[in-house]
Subunit: 138 residues, 2 copies
């Protein structure tokens, strides 16, 4: 949370109540949450906000590097290593729904080199591997 406040300030933005709450919800969840799941959990505190509220908070959190979007699931997850910059990949279990954030340098490196050799200027990287996690293989 301290990190979150610092990162917000570094962007000249505010770490407001809704944003904090959404981040808490993400961090408390063991698996990625859809935007409407987050809405459901916000509801427990106050009256159910409009979807925009959540999407705006998520935009902010992603922008600040505090959360990630899992494109292949239309879901969101709190960043597990928010300090500093990093380029994350995800291992998403089809059985238990968990998503492990990894920072695999070899993948990042291969992506950079592939893009470079194609003359492609990279903005964002989406690397999502789905399958079965170790816990679910027995």
């Amino acid at each position: 949370m301290k990190t979150a406040e610092n990162k917000s300030r570094a962007l000249g933005l505010r770490f407001t109540k809704t944003r904090r709450k959404v981040l808490e919800i993400l961090w408390q969840s063991h698996s990625p949450l859809g935007a409407y799941d987050i809405l459901d959990r916000l509801q427990e505190d106050s009256r159910r906000p409009a979807p925009m509220v959540v999407y705006r908070a998520l935009d902010f959190l992603i922008e600040a590097g505090l959360a990630h979007r899992l494109s292949s699931r239309n879901a969101f997850i709190g960043c597990s290593a928010p300090e500093g910059d990093h380029e994350a990949q995800f291992l998403i279990c089809n059985h238990c729904g968990s998503a492990a954030e990894v920072e695999a340098r070899p993948i990042a490196k291969a992506v950079e080199e592939t893009a470079a050799s194609a003359g492609f200027h990279v903005h964002q990287r989406v690397v999502e591997i789905t399958g079965v996690c170790p816990n679910c293989q027995s």
Copy 2:
């Protein structure tokens, strides 16, 4: 198209009119298409089918390795190298919207190794790099 027929037969499935037409539409497009874009183009031939029709055709084409889904865009693209199996990655231009399918062995290898060392059993790989393509950099 010959490849498409062969792959269909290999799966014990049929390469029907709708499926063929959807694949033609994908192959004719220079950039990924949303499911409803495909519907619009089908409409030109006959009366606009229900969305299910397109989603079913897409499911089939993806299953057969004739098309790919771009998760980060909710869009679909014809496979540019449908012969044989392959593990594709995509370079998606934010400026012109084009999506280049590449087969980068180093990325594939790094992904396999990362998953293996995490004890993760891989089903699917989503690697989508967004940015600016060479043509759009001038």
